[in-house]
Amino acid sequence: MDFEFSSEQEMLRKSFSNFLDKECGHDLVKEWYKNEKGYSPAVWKKMAGLGWMELICESLGNKEGTSFLDAVILFEELGRALLPSPLFTSAAVAGFILSQASDEGPGGKDIAEIMSGKKIYTAALMNERGELDHNRPGVSAVSDQNGGYRLSGTRLFVPYADSADFLLVCADLKNGGPTLFRVKTDSVGVTACPVETLYPERKCVVKLDHTFVDSSDIVGKAGNGGQYVDAVMGKITLLKCSEMLGGMSFILNTTVQYVKDRCQFGKPLGVLQTIQHYCADMATLYEGARMTNYLAASLIDDGLSAEKEVAMAKAWISDGYKKCTWISHQLHGAIGYTEEYPIHLYYRHAKENELMLGDARYHRWKLMERMGL
């Protein structure tokens, strides 16, 4: 057992956080939410230059010297900074799914494009009710008389679909089952409209209206689409947990600092026991989050199954992060309720990600399934 990151890992973390401190203050983050693409293409280029997409795609351990923990650390730092970018959807979600499928068919070339950052992929896996439906896709794929297929259906919460180059869509292939397709976003019949949600990172409603795809756009084997997604869902979920852990750490540190600085009744708020106990509760939620997150990460890094542990991590972190943001708002008073002060971004981030990839209730149910109970 080793409860500390190695000095190389700490250096890596430092390099991430140095970059993020420099490139992405909260003022910029708020600007990017509103700009045309919802992220900064200039910063994206720099991230590619630093090899972040590559680091994520290779964290699955197919190459010597790469580690899943590196990606965990990266997403923690991203969550601390709340940098908006297609990194998660392109490199982690699409990248992992494509790697999984590429053992059984083409896909290698696509991953190379993702790793270079030159092309952006996004995953369109949620139906109109906001549910992941890759095993019973609400998108239909019908054979076209000239060969190839026509895809139709509506997808919700598709990150950065308005600026991505490709969508990964799981569609119900007539008599063939759930099948993954790679769809060029500029194809005829694809529309991607940004929608307003509680957390302002860019998400679109994507409509596919008889969109033509070639049979070479099938990712992996026809009928196996749902399996590919399921196979990498744990890893994807854990990177999301890592991002949430980073958000928790920001909230904990910012709030503790605030109650040390803010004085009322002639004393810092932090001398009051009620306030101290709120802070101790946040620290406990955070410690629990670290334990579950790193336990699952250790197992994944060792190439072992971690389904039970990922479920525990997502269950604990979904609840814990959200509770920390509640406490943080309470302890900040009115200043925290201003548009200018950053904590509402985390309050939003916590709520969105609580509900994405399965909330705490869902993952506790999964945990019981994994334990055979």
């Binding site: 057992m1 500390e4 106990h277 802070c279 101790a280 629990g288």
Partner: protein, 395 residues
């Protein structure tokens, strides 16, 4: 970073399991159905001693094996999972031995440590800290130990002294500076007290179950040789703080009721209640999944604290956070078990044919209120996390 055992740790875990699976059934005693971790057997302690598994972390010069606290945690976890009766040497090993190693005089080391490590006769200890007016505020103790020639003369009263009626010795905290204007944390000292010394009266206090575990202990001009002082005069408080950290980091704070957890899990596995009220089925699964997550976290926090000791890090705040989480988990575990079984869980008594699980659940539920108090109440532990861990200012 690696939150899982390495190969040697896994091998040690297996070795311990194999030993316990062989030795515990062979013991001449029946494990108390309810005393999930508190059973006591000198025979068993001696067997552990033969394996050199008492004093695993102690220096070699005192007969120890100089292994790390993570190894010790691996051993402790298995002992508790197997409900091993470790009560005979428990306090001597966890609290008294390490304190003597750190602060004790040479004769104390020579005399006590070999006896502890070999689980010889007369090594049971009780802790004589709390007093009627000094609970969480331990520095407020009033019992005095005043030097008089070659002796200390002790007067005063202790309370909640678990097992004092069945122990050989007490580990006593008393004021050596009687001047009440001097604050307690620089006025107290630690002593080893032979409970057969004249002037000591031990009276039982019954706990909420009507059982006799803890006691009041009175001292009326108790004279002890000066050599029983441990460490330096008036530095007892400083010495005790470090010991409390070690005490809090123990996995027994998490797993005293592990039997309840095991029974609950097999009950769920067998699905005896599967076609009952779907609301109950759903709720109980959700509640158990929460418990499982807390247990996993609590266990890792215990190991993390052990690892921090091995790496010479400050553990006060971590140990406090860990103990607070663990003791609250145990309380919830017992509550969930009662609600799963419903009203039948109220039945008590081993012989009661209507009592599920031999009345275990009602019994553990009655134990529960003490967990979040003894060894530091949750509120005090949160103060420590806030002040020592998060560096929030003191009032």
């Amino acid at each position: 970073m690696r939150f899982t055992f390495n190969a040697e740790q896994e091998a040690f875990r297996r070795e311990v399991v194999a030993f316990l699976e062989k030795e515990i059934p062979a013991l001449d005693i029946e494990l108390d159905k309810y005393e999930m971790a508190g059973g006591s057997s000198r025979e068993f302690s001696r067997k552990l001693a033969e394996k050199k598994w008492i004093g695993l972390t102690w220096p070699k010069e005192y007969g120890g094996s100089e292994r790390g606290y993570v190894d010790k945690m691996i051993l402790s976890e298995q002992l508790i999972r197997h409900r091993a009766p470790t009560g005979y040497h428990f306090a001597a090993e966890r609290q008294i031995g390490p304190a003597i190693i750190k602060f004790g005089a040479q004769w104390q080391k020579d005399y006590f440590l070999p006896r502890f490590i070999n689980a010889e006769d007369n090594i049971t200890f009780c802790l004589l800290f709390s007093e009627p007016d000094a609970g969480s505020d331990l520095a407020a103790i009033k019992t005095t130990a005043i030097p008089e020639g070659d002796h200390y003369v002790i007067n005063g009263q202790k309370v909640w002294s678990s097992g004092a009626h069945s122990s050989d010795y007490g580990w006593l905290l008393a004021r050596t500076n009687p001047d009440p204007t001097v604050p307690g944390h620089i006025a107290c000292s630690e002593f080893i007290l032979d409970l057969k010394t004249p002037g000591i009266t031990i009276r039982p206090i019954l706990n909420i179950m009507g059982e006799h575990h803890f006691n009041e202990v009175f001292f009326d001009t108790v004279r002890i040789d000066k050599k029983y002082l441990v460490g330096r005069e008036n530095e007892g408080f400083k010495q005790i703080v470090a010991q409390l950290d070690y005490e809090r980091a123990g996995i027994e704070r998490l797993m005293q009721n592990h039997l309840v957890y095991e029974r609950l899990k097999s009950y769920l596995r067998e699905g005896e209640f599967a076609d009952e009220d779907p609301g109950l089925v759903y709720w109980i699964k959700d509640a158990f999944a929460r418990l499982e997550t807390e247990l996993t976290i609590g266990r890792l926090l215990c190991y993390q604290t052990a690892w921090m000791i091995d790496h010479r890090k400050q553990i006060s705040s971590q140990a406090a956070l860990c103990k607070a989480l663990c003791s609250q988990y145990e309380h919830r575990l017992n509550d969930v078990a009662t609600r799963l079984l419903g009203a039948s869980s109220l039945m008590m008594g081993e012989e009661n044919p209507y009592a599920p699980w031999e009345g275990l659940v009602a019994q553990s539920y009655l134990h529960s209120p003490s967990y979040t108090l003894q060894g530091g109440a949750v509120e005090i532990l949160k103060n420590i996390v806030a002040q020592r861990g998060l560096k929030l200012p003191r009032a």
